[in-house]
């Protein structure tokens, strides 16, 4: 009667020697199942983390990690002294701030709107439409943008001319880069982002709305006082995750938009790492840059999580 005793072993604090070994052996098939995936994480996620040490070396590919000279914080010092560093930092932070201010609320608002729709067919139709861009690669999104915004027969410029305005060189100008970047993100992700909020809203007790209505609350009031507060912890969790993403998100997107004309506002850490590292072969330096970026992201996530917990919300850990 193995089944009857197994739970008892656990309940009795099965960390006793023989109980533990028994459980491991009993589950050996499960460990075998986990093994390939586990190896994947070790090889492609954790070994590269260990590889970050080359940021402290003058890594030479032919010498490998063990034989390359150690230079301590030289690359980090070089990074902070690099005149481009502040430009890159500024660009990254500005794009992130814009993302937070302009993109983050959109799925929430859109979800609030969708949540108010009673006709299920209409609701599902709109959802189908706004989910589509999420499945398109950034290459496709940027390509479509190029085709539409092009100076040479792009439909938007044609419309501008027809209305009597001058053509605008969206793709090459510094001024339009940031708006274009945010609008593309909104186009691609706003719809898909509503899913998790809608799920949370579906869990709200209808009785609350009933009571509010009886008290004479208007629709907007109901949204503000019932729906929004009920999804507050979802918003907080997603905000924290977004912070972890901050310096991470967007390489493909920005890389595709980057050109000589808008580099001053478009170059971010990731594109700089790619250019300096893989194009110019400055392995150690670019790793230092990437390392800096990852660490800052991690610190931001931990700070945001701590803040959230202080404010009484659930964090992500």
């Amino acid at each position: 009667m193995r089944e009857a005793t197994a739970p008892n072993t656990m309940a009795a604090g099965g960390k006793t020697g023989s109980g533990l070994m028994k459980r491991i052996v009993k589950n050996r098939a499960l460990y075998l199942m986990i093994l390939p995936g586990f190896l994947f994480f070790v090889i492609f996620k954790y070994v590269p983390m260990g590889g970050l040490v080359i940021a402290l070396q003058d890594y030479q590919p032919y010498q490998g990690i063990l034989n390359s000279p150690w230079v301590g914080l030289k690359h980090f010092r070089k990074l902070f002294a690099d005149p481009q560093f502040f430009m890159i930092l500024r660009n990254t932070l500005v794009l992130f701030a814009m993302n937070l201010a302009f993109f983050f609320p959109v799925p929430i608002i859109l979800a609030l709107m969708l949540n108010e729709v009673r006709n299920q067919l209409f609701k599902r139709t709109i959802q189908t439409m706004v989910y589509i861009p999420h499945f398109m690669s950034w290459v496709i999104i940027v390509s479509i943008s190029f085709v539409i915004l092009s100076m040479d027969r792009g439909i938007l410029n044609e419309l501008l001319v027809m209305m009597g305005f001058e053509k605008i060189n969206f793709l090459m100008s510094k001024e339009w880069f940031r708006p274009m970047y945010i609008l593309q993100i909104i186009w691609r992700e706003a719809g898909w982002g509503t899913i998790i909020y809608l799920a949370a809203m579906a869990a709200i007790d209808p009785g609350l709305y009933e009571a509010a209505r009886m008290d004479g609350a208007k629709r907007l009031h109901q949204i503000w006082h019932i729906t929004l507060p009920s999804i507050r912890n979802v918003i907080v969790v997603l905000l924290i995750l977004k912070l972890g993403d901050v310096l991470e998100l967007g390489f493909e997107h920005v890389y595709l938009l980057l050109n000589a004309m808008n580099r001053e506002v478009a170059e971010i850490f990731d594109t700089y790492v790619y250019t300096a590292g893989l194009r110019q072969g400055q392995f150690s330096y670019s790793t230092a840059v990437g390392f800096f970026k990852s660490v800052v992201g991690l610190i931001l996530v931990m700070a945001a999580n701590w803040l959230a917990k202080k404010a009484g919300e659930e964090g992500i850990y």
Binding site: L30, G51, F251
Partner: protein
């Protein structure tokens, strides 16, 4: 919700639905414009009469892009990578997810932490590249699949799904003498088809959209998937992007119709498959999101 018939409420509904309709249209109009534009002639596009519906139908653009091997080859690569990659990813992910879903597994939370941590911090582009290089994967098709085999988020979704299966099933199978492998393949998998279908689709879309691994790890242009070719033609050929390496097949900047046709070709499989599977996508994202 009980019907609220006040005027204010109705006005709200009208305004809300109108706005939503506009938003929905805004989301798909660019696609319609591009798809329609690909089926017309260059002259038609230039004549400025065209916005959404071509008055003159033509397959010129498609004839042109299929006149050389490039697009065919890239499509074949993408199809191959998508099918094999999805199969490989699903195998690894499902096995690991099932193992991690068994609550009495020793070390379970440690391994889960290891997985979740990778969502917060990573070694970065260069160290990962060096690992891929050290494994002799550079310039191979495997480089498009193996380094991205498991997506932590998908793994968590699957694990949560397996975890929520009724416990009685596993127990009664064990009493009947079934091994863990038996349980997995004969009972759990058939019961999990919705989750498997959904996660497979997530992976498939990701593989079809492969771009970054291709430019990082592939030097041989013949191995490029469709997204890279798309970029060559639409973005680079415009002469606007940062690096102009590898422009060999198309010498002069391609016409708008050609760019649109390539976009359609790169998007087609997703657009075709999408209507049938949209509800699975949404449900799947839900499965793990809240708990994960």
């Amino acid at each position: 919700m009980v019907q609220d018939k006040s005027i204010g409420s109705r006005l709200f509904d009208i305004a809300n639905c109108t706005l939503l309709a506009l938003i929905g249209l805004a989301a798909i109009l660019p696609f319609i414009h591009v798809i329609a534009g690909s089926f017309t002639t260059v002259a038609e596009l230039a004549s400025k009469r065209f916005v959404l519906i071509p008055t003159k139908w033509s397959l010129d653009a498609y004839r042109y892009i299929f006149s050389t091997n490039t697009v065919f080859r890239a499509m074949a690569v993408s199809i191959g990578v998508t099918t094999l990659g999805t199969a490989f990813s699903m195998l690894l992910t499902s096995l690991m997810a099932y193992g991690l879903s068994r609550r009495d597994l020793v070390g379970r939370s440690g391994i889960m932490f290891m997985v979740v941590f990778t969502m917060l911090f990573s070694g970065g582009m260069i160290p990962t590249f060096l690992v891929v290089k050290a494994l002799w994967l550079v310039d191979t098709y495997a480089a498009l699949v193996v380094p991205t085999a498991i997506n932590a988020f998908n793994l968590i979704i699957m694990r949560n799904f397996f975890q929520n299966l009724p416990e009685g099933i596993e127990e009664s199978a064990k009493i009947d003498g079934s091994s863990d492998w038996g349980i997995l393949f004969r009972i759990v998998i058939p019961l999990s088809m919705p989750a498997i279908a959904t996660i497979s689709l997530f992976y498939a879309v990701t593989y079809w959209n492969t771009y970054l691994p291709a430019i990082l790890y592939l030097n041989d242009a013949a191995k490029w998937p469709i997204q890279v070719i798309l970029r060559q033609i639409v973005i680079l050929a415009s002469g606007l992007a940062a690096d102009t390496s590898g422009l060999d097949d198309y010498v002069r900047p391609p016409e708008q119709t050609i760019k649109m046709a390539v976009i359609v070709v790169a998007t087609l499989p997703i657009l075709i498959v999408y209507p049938f599977l949209q509800k699975h996508f949404a449900k799947g994202a839900l499965l793990g999101s809240i708990k994960g």
